[in-house]
Symmetry: C2
Subunit: 177 residues, 2 copies
């Protein structure tokens, strides 16, 4: 079961640069893609920028529906994350193929991914850079975390299926969020 | 000594989400800030988006000069990275304060940071989202890496000086860059 995450804490999930999944829905059919090109833009309400190439099947859904879910997978999903990135929603139902569980979101049509430790329900709020750079600006409307996944380690993509897994956590004195 | 890095490999440095330093120069004076809000936008020529808040001293330099260097620090610089983020170029010369070495860049006025294992010389190519979101779009003109720093571990910010250091590297079969 997913639990509310305060919107003020959303940046702490994405700022470290984990690979994420992006869920969209079009004509009643949900799809997911793997995404590493995203960044935080504002703390609260949380605003995120991401790149969804016009070569991706998800691009048309995102443009048309202006809704998505960003789901953050932990280390144990690494193999599925890669498989999701190496097939297309044009040909397969990825939730079914990968054995992932779609869960109804509260504010948007695309589903949460039950196996991910965090899920962010997002709405597209700016498309000015879509044509030039495939950059979408998203506002996070609602955030969820899975309390059963303690201290999940995320994965960071270095290209062609090579990932750095979160290692040692260090804490230095800082007043900056 | 820094060595050329092919522009086609730049995305592999930033896609994993390391904390970076951003160097700017204005009126002959170089400054650096700490930055975690950045993402890749295009492979080659490499295009990067980043958020530089209008509350940051670097904002005015970046807007005015449209040039910067993105420098990627390894784990051993973590303490300096935090200190850089907790003081302002308005009050101090950060290169001097932190004992960092500015090195002349080839294509832009701001300096490389000798202690960082990678340095990217960048030019601002789009400012349409600066007013609304403080988002700058950069093109990488020239990239350098330090061959003396082998397999550097980067750090990923989770807020208030907490970082995940790169841990285990895993390699999964994938055809995707």
């Amino acid at each position: 079961m997913m639990k509310d995450l305060p919107l003020s804490k959303v940046y702490q999930l994405l700022e470290p640069g984990p690979v994420v999944l992006l869920a969209t829905t079009r004509r009643g059919r949900a799809n997911i893609m793997t995404m590493s090109w995203h960044m935080m833009v504002e703390f609260e309400p949380p605003i995120i920028a991401c790149v969804v190439s016009n070569a991706n099947y998800s691009y048309a859904s995102l443009r048309a529906t202006k809704e998505c879910v960003i789901a953050v997978p932990a280390r144990k999903l690494a193999s599925k994350v890669v498989q999701i990135g190496n097939c297309s929603g044009r040909e397969v139902d990825k939730f079914q193929k990968l054995g992932l569980t779609p869960v109804s979101a509260q504010c948007v049509a695309p589903p949460l991914v039950a196996e991910c430790f965090a899920n962010l329900e997002c709405r597209v709020i700016d498309t000015r850079l879509v044509r030039s750079f495939n950059i979408f600006i998203l506002e996070v409307l609602k955030a969820w975390t899975d309390p059963a996944q303690k201290r999940p380690k995320t994965i960071h993509h270095h290209g062609y299926g090579k990932f750095a897994v979160d290692g040692e956590m260090i804490k230095l004195k800082s007043s900056k969020p």
